[in-house]
């Protein structure tokens, strides 16, 4: 007797003309779960997000939220979801209260009930004293918080957030996550978050990693990290290929070249480090040992660094 999935995505593909943005992505989000979609810019997570929130037409595959099909009953989906976009969706010329009021009207809320909800939410996000201010006068972080309040105003069953901490300082980011957990625990809201921040991905209950439109891994953050096993050794060297070959010959180690570094996943890394430094004193410029991070998971699953494109530039 398992609950039906809150969000179900099946074999979803999408392309912009020739360019494939999503290919054959399937996953399910359980009710009352904070589910993260982690991927670098251009990995397809925003496309997936837009398909789920009914902005773009589904080309192939299927998706449903709370058992409402995105393709055939968009209106029903829209009633069930609350959305915080990555790009702003507020009217700069209106006040905070006016923005929320119009939003409430679109969801059939009105009068004193609406006024109360607005005040409650703004208290939650700490902006109740800025209610009458024009949005254009707010700081970036404050606007973000209004956006989040807007997504929550109509008490959605499912909350979709696209890069929610964009423009938030660490303190506000912390508050946001605390609030999201509270929503999950107290109001049984299912939450889907897209992010490119490892630190944010760590906070999700479960995580799907997207790379170039494909789903490359999905599990809890802990399971993903432990799937790599042991420690992670990173070696900086001037000639990666030759060192890679010699590691294979002398140590039977399979090191992968990531950018200008070599990376080895291994139990008891600290012992290996000593041996390696003894064996190749002249080749190793620097060597470091760490517990695997989500970034290591990403590297292992995709064979390239999370920020590869940016690193080259």
């Amino acid at each position: 007797m398992s609950d039906p999935a809150a969000i179900s995505v099946e074999a979803l593909s999408y392309s912009y003309g020739e360019r494939v943005a999503l290919s054959d992505v399937s996953f399910q989000v359980k009710p009352e779960e904070i589910f993260g979609l982690l991927g670098p810019n251009g990995s397809g997570k925003t496309t997936l997000f837009r398909l789920l929130c009914t902005l773009m037409p589904i080309q192939s595959g299927a998706a449903s939220l709370s058992e409402a099909d995105v393709k055939t009953s968009p209106a029903e989906v829209r009633r069930k979801i609350g959305i915080t976009f990555q790009s702003p969706s507020l009217d700069d010329r209106l006040t905070v209260r006016e923005n929320l009021k119009h939003h409430g009207h679109l969801y059939g809320l009105r009068g004193s009930e609406l006024a109360q909800l607005i005040e409650q939410l703004l208290t939650h996000v700490g902006l109740v004293d800025r209610m009458g201010e024009t949005v254009s006068k707010l700081s970036g972080g404050m606007k973000r918080r209004v956006e989040i309040a807007k997504g929550l105003l109509h008490r959605p069953e499912i909350l979709l957030l696209d890069e929610p901490s964009t423009g938030l300082d660490p303190g506000a980011r912390h508050d946001l996550w605390q609030y999201l957990r509270k929503l999950r625990d107290e109001q049984q809201v299912t939450i889907l978050v897209t992010t490119h921040l490892m630190e944010e991905a760590e906070r999700c209950d479960r995580l799907a990693i997207l790379n170039q439109g494909e789903l490359v891994a999905m599990d809890t953050p802990e399971m993903l990290r432990s799937s790599i096993g042991g420690d992670c050794i990173t070696i900086s060297t001037s000639d990666q290929n030759s060192l890679q070959n010699r590691l294979r010959d002398q140590f039977q180690l399979d090191a992968s070249i990531i950018g200008n570094q070599l990376r080895i996943g291994r139990e008891n890394g600290h012992e290996l480090i000593r041996d390696l430094v003894d064996a190749f004193p002249d080749d190793i410029e620097s060597i470091s040992l760490g517990k695997p991070t989500l970034e290591d998971v990403f590297i292992q699953k995709t064979g390239h660094r999370f920020w590869e494109d940016e690193a080259v530039v």
């Binding site: 902005l55 037409p57 968009p74 959305i83 702003p88 009217d91 010329r93 209106l94 009207h105 679109l106």
Partner: protein, 284 residues
């Protein structure tokens, strides 16, 4: 369409959303003072300057009374210009809404797509008709300053109501036209281009500024221009005392009204169709 039928059961929510979106249009307009001045100022200046410049050379058309001045002729034309400009400019906000992101927030809400259309159109119509009314009042007052001749309309309250109602229909139609043009556009520059090569000529060739001739290619263009009928209908309603109902050379009220209504329905239908489409355009 299916969506709108389903939710029409809950019609109070429907109109709540429509009114809310229209109200936003009006609030936004009023917070941009320059738009208020621009939309009213230019037509008034046109009216005064053209009126003064063409005062001597104007020949009233056959259907008008012989002593009609150019400013009297031009009066309904300027009212239509104000309707056109205000209506059209208020739909430019679609492009801004899209760019600023407000539109995507509306598009993911559960309202039937026709709410988005009607919210914009009703808001735009209220603004357009409001500005036109200001102009009518202003036009009468200019006479006292010697900037315009007396406008002799002699209308009863009922006649004025007919004028007002028709201005609402025409304003709604023109906002619908603007909506259809603005919806697929990604930049306001593109809209301004359409404005100068399509919308302004449409007004110039509507009988607003000079009468429709009886021969030649120009008269053909004018006869197929739907706005010609809008101007004609407003003119006939305003000068119902001096233009006889069976005067030739100017379309009759019934015909003009029907053409305008048809034009309106076509624009609203296309606007709803466009808005119903889910496309990558919506996410810009």
């Amino acid at each position: 369409m299916n969506e709108s039928l389903k939710s029409s059961a809950n019609s109070s929510s429907y109109w709540l959303a429509v009114c809310s979106l229209s109200q936003r249009e009006i609030v936004r307009f009023l917070r941009q003072r320059t738009r208020v001045v621009g939309a009213l100022g230019q037509p008034v200046i046109f009216w005064v300057l053209f009126g003064a410049g063409l005062y001597g050379s104007f020949q009233p058309p056959e259907w008008a009374s012989a002593d009609m001045t150019y400013q009297e002729y031009f009066f309904p034309g300027v009212a239509v210009m104000i309707l056109l400009f205000t209506a059209i400019f208020s739909t430019i906000s679609i492009i801004e809404d899209r760019r600023e992101g407000f539109l995507q927030g509306v598009l993911v809400s559960p309202v039937p797509r026709s709410v988005i259309v009607f919210g914009k159109l009703i808001g735009g119509t209220i603004l357009a008709v409001g500005q036109a009314i200001l102009f009518l009042i202003f036009g009468f007052c200019l006479h006292w300053f010697g900037l315009a001749p007396e406008i002799r309309l002699n209308l009863t309250i009922l006649d004025w109501l007919a004028v007002l109602s028709f201005m609402c229909l025409l304003g709604f139609t023109l906002t619908g036209l603007g909506y259809v043009i603005a919806w697929p556009m990604s930049s306001t520059q593109g809209f301004h281009a359409i404005m100068s090569v399509f919308l302004l000529p449409m007004w110039l060739l509507s009988g607003a500024i000079f009468p429709v001739g009886s021969t030649g290619w120009l008269s053909w263009v004018m006869w197929i221009n739907p706005l010609t009928y809008g101007v004609a209908c407003l003119r006939r309603l305003m000068y119902s005392n001096s233009i006889s109902p069976d005067a030739v050379g100017l379309p009759g009220v019934a015909l003009s009204f029907s053409v305008t209504l048809l034009f309106c329905l076509v624009c609203v239908m296309i606007a709803t169709q466009l808005t119903n489409r889910r496309s990558a355009l919506n996410t810009r």
